[in-house]
């Protein structure tokens, strides 16, 4: 062990012992209390997690039923560390534990209460030597391949123009900068999950990143996991079974961009899309949009070409229709024209006939004209004679009527009662009525007697 570290530990122990002493003075532990106390002292190592390197010893005990395994780590000095691991921890290593295999275990020490034995609780076990690492890698790769983790048909399709991107990489690293620079400005929205990318602890971060994105940001269109190049050993997180399984189960497609020279990492094999560097990851995404820009312009062009073609087609169809209609109209017109000609000629014939009729009538009129005029002349003479006769008769009749009238007048004058008065007759009236009998008179009646030259009033004195 490092001398300076050893001295520092020594000083710390002394300081710590001083603080501990009052607590321990006169104290007697039960066995159980004591083991708990020792485990308490070891707790800082549990919180920090310790990594121990060694060779797997001869005695390996795996209890498949109960799901755990016991093995020993030994070193050249003959030191021995009993290790207790759950079977899934052994399984994650990717290879079966064999004596002589050089490994690194991370976990914490504790005293097993029931056995009273000091033991190392293993959280993760991984190979150390490059040769073994390669071997582990090949075995794990083969197994995962057989289990279908790398099947091309199981890969998810990345949206054609991804916009909302999750990023898992080391914060402030060159990888992050390279990725962002090559993204270019296409309106990406990048949500980053800072992660360690080297060593065993990177596995936890990467797995947690994928989990967080899937759980809380399912609308992400892709997750980019990227880091710059490094040694084979430094890229072990990307060859871990845990990362492979998490990537495989992610609902969001995953793009791997791990810088490496030769072999692909297992992440590359399981990812839905792989590129070789952070720069390429940025380029991969920005190129989709570059292509999009081009495609939009092409689409616009092809749409206008298509509509242009359509317009020409329609124009052609219109012209065809126009020809067709014109021909039809012309034919109709010609037919009507013929009909009209026919009608016209029949009309002309009729008019001609009428004119002829008129001419013949006129001839007849001319022929009979003289006769008619003569007739008219003769008749007028007759009328004149008749008129004269009428006038003569009128004068004669007038004279006769006059004479008759004066005769009648004379006769009338003779019978006039007034004339009788002059001859001595009188007219007697009572109350305006002419009296014709004495019986109409009574004593005292007032009577009027009209004579030729006046009226005398008298009263009846005596009634006989």
């Amino acid at each position: 062990m490092n001398v300076i570290f050893s001295i520092a530990m020594d000083a710390y122990s002394k300081k710590f012992a001083k603080k501990l002493k009052p607590f321990l003075d006169d104290r007697v532990f039960t066995v159980s209390e004591f083991i708990d106390f020792v485990n308490g002292l070891l707790k800082p190592l549990k919180i920090c997690e310790v990594v121990v390197k060694g060779e797997i010893g001869e005695d390996i005990y795996i209890n498949d039923k109960k799901g755990w395994a016991i093995l020993n780590l030994i070193d050249e000095d003959g030191a021995r560390l009993g290790c207790f691991a759950a079977s899934y921890v052994i399984d994650r290593m990717g290879v079966d534990p064999e004596p002589g295999l050089e490994v690194k275990v991370s976990g914490y020490p504790e005293v097993r209460k029931n056995k009273g034995r000091f033991s190392f609780q293993v959280n993760r076990i991984s190979l150390v030597g490059e040769g073994d690492l390669k071997k582990q890698f090949e075995i794990l790769k083969k197994r995962l391949k057989e289990e279908g983790y790398f099947d091309p048909e199981k890969k998810q399709k990345i949206s054609r123009f991804p916009e909302y991107i999750g990023l898992i990489t080391s914060k402030g690293s060159d990888a992050e900068k390279d990725f962002i620079t090559h993204l270019k400005n296409y309106g990406f929205r990048v949500l980053s999950y800072p992660s360690r990318v080297e060593g065993e602890t990177a596995i936890d971060d990467i797995v947690a990143g994928i989990e967080t994105f899937n759980k809380n940001f399912p609308e992400l269109e892709a997750i980019v996991i990227t880091r710059g190049g490094g040694s084979w050993e430094s890229l072990q997180a990307f060859n871990s079974q845990e990362v492979v399984k998490k990537v495989f189960s992610s609902k969001i497609p995953i793009i791997s961009g791990i810088g490496h020279e030769n072999d692909l990492t297992l992440l590359d094999l399981v990812a839905d899309e792989r590129v070789s560097t952070p720069t390429d990851a940025g380029k991969f995404l920005s190129e989709t949009w570059q292509e999009g820009e081009k495609l939009i312009l092409e689409s616009e062009k092809s749409l206008s070409v298509a509509t242009g073609r359509l317009i020409r087609q329609v124009e052609k169809r219109f012209t065809e229709h126009a020809h067709f209609f014109r021909r039809k109209i012309e034919r109709n017109f010609r037919m009507k024209e013929k009909g009209l000609e026919h009608l016209f000629s029949s009309l002309t014939d009729k008019i001609k006939n009428r004119i002829n009729e008129f001419y013949s009538l006129e001839g007849e009129v001319k022929l009979h004209g003289y006769k008619i005029r003569n007739e008219l002349k003769n008749n007028s003479e007759k009328v004149e004679q008749l008129n004269k006769n009428l006038k003569t008769s009128k004068i004669r009749w007038e004279k006769a009527i006059k004479n008759k009238l004066s005769e009648e007048e004379k006769k009338l004058n003779l019978s006039n009662p007034e004339l009788k008065l002059t001859q001595g007759y009188s007219i007697t009236k009572k109350k305006g009525e002419i009296l014709k009998s004495v019986s109409d008179l009574s004593e005292g009646d007032l009577i009027e007697t009209k004579l030729a030259d006046g009226v005398a009033e008298s009263r009846v004195e005596k009634d006989d």
């Binding site: 993204l183 939009i296 092809s302 298509a306």
Partner: protein, 73 residues
Amino acid sequence: MTKKDFDFTKAYEEIEEINEWFQKEEIDLEEALSKYERGMELIEKCKERLKKSKNKFEEIKEKYEASEEEDSS
């Protein structure tokens, strides 16, 4: 950062469909007119989206906060 305001991929796919439709032999004029208008509208929107090109960055600060919230509920 939540949902997208405009889905470029979806819009482009619709533009592609429209362009394909126009390759048909027999085209209905009414439909062609509305497809053309829709296509041009989408193209304009896509162009508009391409103009808004500044990238936005956000970081998840509290690593396990979201999942812890989820667990406690």
